[in-house]
């Protein structure tokens, strides 16, 4: 039975939309002072902060909107927001 009602979209299709272009401030992570608590990755509304192979956290600038939540929650103050140069 095929129902032709409604709309369907492929899972995670929103990734086509690179929201990084919205950014005014860019988060800069300092690996020297980071204690790898992972709070930045936990609270990112975009889910775009990831742990790399060395265990350090880094933002995916294709999607980061530059909200600054990660800077606020970082207990070691090792994230700072810098004005985006375009």
């Amino acid at each position: 039975m095929a129902l032709g009602v409604g709309c369907a979209a492929p899972p995670g299709k929103a990734r086509d939309n690179k929201t990084g272009s919205w950014r005014v401030f860019r988060p800069v992570f300092d690996p020297e002072t980071c204690n790898r608590c992972g709070m930045c990755a936990l609270v990112c509304p975009e889910g775009c902060v990831h742990e790399n192979e060395e265990g350090m956290f880094e933002p995916d600038l294709d999607y980061c909107k530059g909200c600054g939540l990660c800077e606020e929650v970082c207990p070691k103050k090792s994230i700072r927001m810098e004005k985006e140069e375009k």
């Binding site: 899972p11 995670g12 690179k18 919205w22 509304p45 889910g47 999607y63 909200c67 600054g68």
Partner: protein
């Protein structure tokens, strides 16, 4: 299993929420808690609009949206069908406070009365943010919205108190009702895990500040939700089989600290400070503290 959940991002980046969006964070945490074996039912609302502008979707799990008012009814139907087929997917509704407190009460009440095994999550951003910040049943006393504006006739903004939705659904005999906040992400994740593993209809109301609607900087989303808890205007608690348990205790701070950071309460401070209105909001916080016993009391010397 827990580690596997942490790695997989089921709520994908690229959704169109504002930077620093509280509900977007709640959606991410929700899917971290549920994992893949879930069917999400959404009502109309900000989350539905920013996460699924056709033909895009941020959800990587089965997701369905029908109308504003009937998320609980759709979820009931899915649950009944899955039960008949002997399938194990969990059903989770994610709806805004407008859909929960005002428009969807009929269907929610029906679903909870029939006892469907669903988890209903209300992300509470305290107004209809998607359509332009109209007042809902969840808007707190004193907040200025576009339909409860402050002015000479209503110097205090919204004249009505916030509806006590958790108590209404606990009164339906729900086995598990909880409030949570994105200020404590792990607490929210734990509560969702408990709710989806509890048979019967469960309800979680999660406090999700909206930087656009409330008027604060996007980086302050977590700080504002923490202040709501620290002032006593939001209380994290669980109601298990009708009994209130585990209310989060705090050392309370005056409500001004929460109010003065938000544009929706600006009229209380400018052009003239309205002490009478602030005292009324403080009284709400005091009543919450009294009701749930959230004040940390210093140990008294033995008498």
């Amino acid at each position: 299993m827990a580690e596997e959940k942490q790695d997989v991002e089921l709520f994908s980046a690229g959704h169109r929420a504002c930077g620093g969006c509280g509900p977007a964070l709640a959606a991410r945490l929700l899917l971290k808690a549920t994992g893949k074996n879930v069917i999400v039912v959404a009502s109309t609302g900000c989350m539905e609009v920013f996460s699924t502008p056709y033909p895009e979707t941020a959800w990587e799990v089965p997701w369905i949206h029908s109308l504003f008012e009937n998320a609980a009814a759709v979820a009931s139907g899915i649950e009944a069908s899955l039960k008949k087929q002997g399938r194990s997917e969990k059903i989770v509704c994610i709806c805004g406070d407008g859909a929960t407190f005002d428009i969807g009460v009929l269907c929610i009440s029906g679903a909870f009365e029939r006892g469907h095994d669903i988890t209903y999550i209300c992300y509470d951003n305290e107004a209809y943010m998607n359509t332009g910040i109209q007042r809902s049943g969840a808007t707190p006393y004193g907040a200025s919205t576009t339909t409860s504006p402050t002015g000479t006739c209503a110097p205090g903004g919204n004249p009505l108190p916030k509806k006590d939705m958790p108590a209404i659904l606990a009164a339906h005999g729900a086995p598990y009702v909880a409030t949570a906040s994105i200020a404590y992400p792990n607490d929210f994740v734990k509560k969702v895990e408990r709710a989806i593993n509890t048979p019967g209809p469960c309800y979680i109301q999660v406090h999700t500040p909206c930087c656009t609607g409330w008027g604060f900087e996007s980086r302050d989303t977590i700080a504002i939700s923490k202040l709501a808890i620290n002032t006593g205007l939001w209380v994290n608690y669980e109601i298990v089989n009708g009994v209130v348990e585990k209310a989060k205790k705090v050392r309370r701070v005056p409500v001004e600290e929460y109010l003065e950071k938000q544009k929706r309460f600006r009229h209380l401070f400018r052009p003239a400070r309205q002490d009478a209105e602030i005292a009324k909001i403080q009284a709400i916080a005091d009543a919450n503290a009294e009701k749930f016993g959230i004040d940390i009391k210093l140990r008294k010397p033995a008498e």
